[in-house]
Amino acid sequence: MALRSKRSLAGAEAAGAAAVAVPPKEAPGGKRSLAGWVYLLPSIAIFAIFVIYPFARTIITSFFATTPAGGLTQFIGLSNFITLFTDPLYTQAIANTLIYVVLTVPLTIVIALLLAVLTAQDLPGMGIFRTIFSATMGISVAAAAVFWNLLFNANSGVLNRIIEFFGGEGVGWLIDQNFALVSVSIISIWMNLGMAYLILLGAIKSIDGSYYESVEIVGGGFWYRLRRVTVPLISPSLFFVLTITVIGAFQSFGLIDMLTQGGPNNATVLLIYRLYRDAFVNFRIGSASAQGVILFVVIFVISYIQTKLTEDKVTYQ
């Protein structure tokens, strides 16, 4: 995230695509307004109390040894961090997480975009498709874990039966360490698709029709329309979906907890799952706090890079 840069994540500058103006476009009576803070107050207060304050505490805790109940016992400096980075399992968790992000994020977005584009047309039956595609949003992780466990079950799972029915060979979806992360990724894509789809669909539907008419006359085909009109015009939403999907991927522990518990052979230990285990099962609060800080930094850095890479391509009207 771009604290430093002029253009930032989410295009903080977007308020001014007009911000080209060097003496900023100040409508009269503008700058001295306190009103902004009044509108922001509810959110800011909640953020301060329930996000920033506890995170500050987390940061402090990360420098301490703790009792199982979370009490701070002794200041140990960076020891929690050092321990983590010398732990090969932790570095593996970092690697797993990155792989997981790379597996899930692009596919989720590409599929969601494709489906959104196709179903944005007012064709008969679209209502049903739209409902199906957004339906996974309504399935909780717990429920999803139940379904997919039965689908992925290596020995009796439906998926393998289908594969075998067509003459293929079954796969140890969740127990083969080469497949487990992929399998979890598939479920994760399935689960996150709904939201991404819905946001993109909404964005596409609110594009003014004349933009499509114009490209239609020019004769651009499906991909041209997608590339030159749809994607640029929904780029803010796309960027947003990208951001939340990335962040969501970094923070998805429910599936892991319920399906693989990090296994087999640590193949599916993600940073967040490791954090969860240490905080809520092993009661190593200090280490968990340190992991929280690390995770924050990792997400921050990734988001920042992502912002940098995409900022030219995101246009706000």
């Binding site: 994540l9 700058k31 803070w37 509108y39 506890p54 047309q121 595609f133 239609e216 968990a288």
Partner: protein, 288 residues
Amino acid sequence: MMPFSKKSSGRVAGSGLRTSKSGLVATYAVLTIAAVAIGFPILFSISLSFTPLEDIINGVFIPTSLFLDNYVNAFEAQPFAQFIVNSVVVGVAGTALQILFSMLAAYALVFIPFGGKRIIFLIIMATMMIPAEVLVVTNFQTIRAMGLIDTYAGLILPGVATTFGIFLYRQNMMQIPSELKEAADVAGLSRFQFFVRVVVPMVMNTTVTLAIYFFLVTWNAYLWPLVSTTNNTARTVQIGLRTLNSSEGLSDFGMMAAGAVITSIPTLLLIFFGQKRLQEGMTKGALK
């Protein structure tokens, strides 16, 4: 009437555009495949919820008769009615507040000039990157200090400010043509009046999307509802669902599938009707 009258023609996003025949075939083919792939797990679990455990263990997943025991068992095992009420209350109230707070904040960020806006926005964005798991314990203590354990308020409060909502609203509000704000300024509307009369209706689309999303997130939440409650008075369906799952020994898959279906029905209905509403209430961009 010509074949391509309003009803039958494929139209791109609100315009009068039509799609070619081959395009139509391809479209439906892709969509059908996707629908099967995406819908299958759900159908599968619905099927499972009507199948006796013995069959499931032995790999029979399709009910041979209308077997309702799983549902009966689920309702007996957990007070789902109570949980659903709680979930609805928490979901509705939480969603309403999230919507309100996000709208207000986004409005300030887009339409009100004031110093420090950038920084505030960046901080808000950054909060999204903090893993919720590390906040739970401290928030529990905060809520307890407020005396809100086992209350709806305690369940709702920590989540009512959402970066997600603020961001999406901000995005949407930035698309409102500046002339509309200017016309309102000229007409003498106050900030709040502009907010209520123009911004709120014009971001209705986002509101519906967000409302669905917030509701689902609240509905599907597990960790915080578990931590912030100690008994069933305020607990939500996900805890009920999780409770069905046996951590030791054999899980009753059928009952769990039934539970999963029970807890998913309200949300699926919401998506279904929300989707309809979304399609109807699609407000269009500005004119000319």
